[in-house]
Amino acid sequence: MAKILIPTPLRQYAEKNNSVDVAAGTVGEALASLTTQFPDLRKNLFNDEGKLRSFVNVYVNDEDIRYLQKDATPVADGDTISIVPSIAGGRC
């Protein structure tokens, strides 16, 4: 099992979970499993073409999957997958 960490802004679409365990061999499979479980997350993570949105990054442990094998990046038992969307708050 790998652990997917859900960031605060997206928890509302994941029944308030801050992490979800999934069984998956790749990042793509892990995210598919996540969005099957929580369909509301899908439009926040993927665009209409099913591509990961450009303001959301996904990391396996501390490495950005854009610099690994993207969706095909393998995940092993005990890996942590982080979803990190851009947030802008600060002056507020």
Binding site: F55, R66, P85, I87, R91
Partner: protein, 375 residues
């Protein structure tokens, strides 16, 4: 050289070899621009002033609201209604009168960003919206200045340094902003009052380290802070070879458009006319507007409304450059006919808020002030 007063004030720095006199002199010589004096800017400004950063610039156009005080500790209850930069300056001067504070009472735009940022060594981004964050990033890349970045949401914060020599920029991390509405803002989503204190001081720490050249700067690393879990995590941040910061194609753009923010065309004014009594009420209530008398100078001599400015109708086109197209105007003449034409002239030139005073000064004399002669 440090003065005797500075030696006493900064003694806890001076006795540490990592800072010392040399480091304190670097702090004194440093120029840091803080963009935003809200949640993040507040602790950054206070601690950088205390630490003796010699020149601190503040960019903000907002005024202090009671709802800010839950987290923006540089402002107090007595400051409600004051400009944030004035309130911030007062607090910083109280903490350390030896630092120079430069106030920029503007919203940062593509037009003014480079000029404002050029004179500083380090930029700290404490703003609250995507267009400004992309603007700051792009300007920092163009000017080759490090952007000490942080952002917050509810219980979570992110911090890193963008655009440092050889390091990644904000666009390397996020090439594009989210479409409006998909990611809630702090105003909608809320923020734990203490959060910007913790995250802002990470920013302040990185600013001081960059100035001193001490330690390992937070470059190429994205620090994530989760206050509820009380956990810090770190992710690798790489310079994207396809990013505009690497390809040399960076230029400042229309960031509202880039972020999908559609400017609503201003609705046409529902009322194009206003009666003399209402104009009198606007004057008495010190409403912010400009009253223009479009009559001829000799008519003006006969009688006038005290707050009016004389611009004869024929001179209006060539004197338009003196006028702010965004201001509120009321035009009048003797009876209302010439001033209606004047209103059309201004509206055609893009002035949005232009009203014609019905009945002219004649009606003014009848309805408001009989001491103004009718002629």
């Amino acid at each position: 050289m440090l003065t005797q007063e500075e030696v006493s004030r900064y003694s806890r720095h001076l006795i540490m070899p990592e800072v010392g006199v040399e480091g304190q002199e670097k702090l004194k010589a440093a120029k840091v621009l803080l963009i935003g004096t809200g949640g993040l800017g507040a602790p950054v400004a206070m601690y950088l002033a205390a630490a003796g950063v010699g020149t601190i610039g503040l960019v903000d156009f907002d005024v202090v609201d009671v709802s800010n005080l839950q987290r923006q500790v540089i402002h107090g209850t007595k400051d409600i209604g004051k400009k944030k930069i004035d309130s911030a300056e007062e607090t910083m001067r109280d903490i350390n009168p030896l630092v120079k504070i430069i106030k920029h009472d503007v919203a940062l735009t593509s037009e003014n960003a480079l000029d404002i940022m050029r004179d500083y060594d380090i930029i700290a981004d404490g703003t609250d919206n995507f267009p400004t964050r992309f603007l700051i990033n792009d300007a920092c890349v163009l000017l080759n200045k490090p952007n000490v970045y942080a952002s917050i949401f509810r219980f979570e914060g992110q911090a890193t340094i963008f655009a440092a020599e050889g390091g990644p920029c904000y666009r390397c991390l996020y090439p594009e902003p989210p479409p409006p509405g998909l990611v809630p803002s702090c105003a909608e989503g809320g923020v734990l009052g203490i959060l910007p204190g913790v995250v802002g001081l990470i920013q302040a720490t990185e600013v001081v380290k960059l100035i001193l050249g001490a330690g390992e700067p937070l470059i190429g690393r994205l620090l994530l802070y989760d206050a509820l879990a009380m956990r810090f995590r770190e992710l690798k941040l790489r310079k994207n070879p396809e990013c505009v910061c690497a390809t040399g194609e960076m230029k400042l753009i229309d960031y509202d458009h880039f972020c999908g923010i559609v400017k609503q065309p201003e609705p046409p004014p529902l009322v194009n006319e206003i009666g003399p009594k209402e104009v009198k009420a606007m004057i008495d209530e010190r409403k912010d507007f400009i009253l223009i008398d479009v009559r001829e100078p000799h008519e003006f001599q006969i009688g006038r409304i005290p707050t009016s400015n004389l611009i004869p109708l024929g001179d209006l086109p060539k004197r338009m450059a003196e006028l702010d197209p965004n201001a509120q105007y009321v035009l009048h003449c003797k009876m209302g006919g010439r001033s209606a034409k004047g209103c059309d002239v201004l509206r055609a030139a893009g002035f949005k808020r232009v009203l014609n005073m019905t009945g002219g000064i004649t009606a003014w004399s009848e309805q408001v002030d009989p001491s103004v002669p009718k002629y």
